[in-house]
Amino acid sequence: MVMAGESQFHVLAVDDSIIDRKIIQTLLKTLSYQVTTVDSGAKALEFLGLHQDDTTNPNTPSPPNNHQEVEVNLVITDYCMPGMTGYDLLKKIKESSLRNMPVVIMSSENVPSRITRCLEEGAEEFFLKPVRLSDLSKLRPLMLKTKLKDQNQKQEEKAAFQSPKLQQVEQKQQPSNDDKGKAIDEGLSPEKKN
């Protein structure tokens, strides 16, 4: 199985609460992720290199990232924020060239219709606040899956430009995409269960 490499995963966390930003940052760092926090959906889009009205033709192939130097592997966002809600942000990302970006929603309120709406719009997960380390351990497989998908896509695009003979050789070495279940989870710090 092809590992996504030793480079760290980078998570973009969006929350208007300074307390929650501090907590989520620490939780994610504890899991050895690189973290960037922003306090609004607008700033999140800016960081991702998307403009607020950036919706592209869904039929164009999506590059892994089209923003500045920093690659973001996952966006985790609060639902209730002034201005742009987490749902609005989710929608904008899914309608953009970054539609493959995994997005996770957090909310302090357990509203089933809200949860359904978010999942239907493409959110990978919905966490109730306060978010725990055990919730965030679900993020790794999501990011791994997308990284592998992007790598395969790159491979395919590369192969399209190569000679037929080389293509045959490459195809034999193509990693399988079905390794979701085998994603290796590094040991997390043990949490006490009460």
Partner: protein, 149 residues
């Protein structure tokens, strides 16, 4: 007081805060995130909570003093306070916020004013208690001891 006594006092004090509902499991979660790489994490988060809460309490007071009360605005502030108190495990503050939000929904001025008073009271209680707890922790550290979990 010697180190062992201080440590025992801290454990007893902390336990009482949980028993009396001032703190809940979420506070424990925060303590567990504190380590050598992040030695002041709990104090830092709690300080942010104090600052933010004071801001919100002031906003709430102003909003409820208006001739024509904007209940949506009041509710938005209470929602924030409820969220942050929940995030640090300040259970009693959180509980008052829940009742507070119900009064906002009912547009019940008296109820809101009563809750504002209550939430101020609970906030000031938990603030005092956390500050006392941090002081005890400092004393232990200064005496060369470690904080018992």
């Amino acid at each position: 007081m010697d180190l062992v006594q201080l440590q025992r006092q801290l454990v007893e004090y902390r336990t009482s805060l949980y028993h009396e509902g001032f703190l809940d499991e979420q506070f424990t979660q925060l303590q567990e995130l504190q380590d050598e790489n992040n030695p002041d994490f709990v104090v830092e988060v709690v300080s942010l909570f104090f600052e933010d809460s004071e801001r919100l309490l002031n906003e709430l007071t102003k909003a409820l003093e208006q001739q024509s009360i904007d209940f949506k605005r009041v509710d938005a502030h209470v929602h924030q306070l409820k969220g942050s108190s929940s995030s640090i495990g300040a259970q009693r503050v959180q509980k008052v916020c829940i009742a507070f939000r119900n009064y906002c929904e009912e547009q019940n001025v008296e109820g809101c004013l009563k809750c504002l008073q209550q939430v101020r009271h609970e906030y000031s209680l938990v603030k005092t208690k956390l500050e006392s707890m941090f002081q005890l922790e400092q004393q232990i550290l200064s005496a060369g001891g470690s904080i018992p979990m």
